[in-house]
Symmetry: C2
Subunit: 107 residues, 2 copies
């Protein structure tokens, strides 16, 4: 497994992301609620974003300006594989359970 590059390290707080993107904190949290963005959390619950997240948020902002709804943006992102289709996640997790039950090494 390769080290994650700086671009994907989740280290930026929401206030800084707000400055970087020009979006309000409210908007950023809402896009998370709509499953467009997935920040990490510190132990005490603060959101942490990566530079990739910041870029993604700027794309989202552009699409919102073009009049797209969050749901439509989400569909686009799934098509473009920028986020994983929930159906695929369910499939993958089921597979993991099967492997676990039938003795595939996972540790």
């Amino acid at each position: 497994m390769s080290e994650e590059s700086y671009k994907d390290k989740k280290v930026i707080t929401i206030g800084t992301v707000s400055e970087l993107t020009g979006l309000s904190e409210r908007q950023i949290r809402y896009y998370e609620e709509r499953k467009l963005i997935f920040p990490a959390r510190t132990k005490r619950g603060s959101r942490k974003y990566s530079f990739s997240d910041v870029e993604l948020l700027m794309e989202i902002a552009d699409k919102r300006e073009d009049g797209l709804q969050t749901y439509e943006i989400r569909q686009e992102m799934i098509r473009e594989k920028k986020i994983e289709d929930p159906k695929d996640i369910r499939k993958r997790m089921l597979k993991g359970q099967i492997n676990a039950r039938f003795g595939v090494q996972n540790d």
Copy 2:
């Protein structure tokens, strides 16, 4: 002028830097006092660090473990051009003032 890469963008708070480096916030602030590290500041005064800063702090931690004093670490860093020699800074700024006074475009 080229865009600064992610590596040099000052966006990480001291708490996160502390986790990333294993250093206490007290240590990180002290190394700043000793001019080994130069965080940016938000409008209200919070320190912001880059990934480069995090790497530098880890080097500092290694050297401290080797028994070097902060002053010695600073000398090494100046020699290695990781930070600028204060004498050079003074020279450069004087030059800037001369240029300004004698009409070199600076805007």
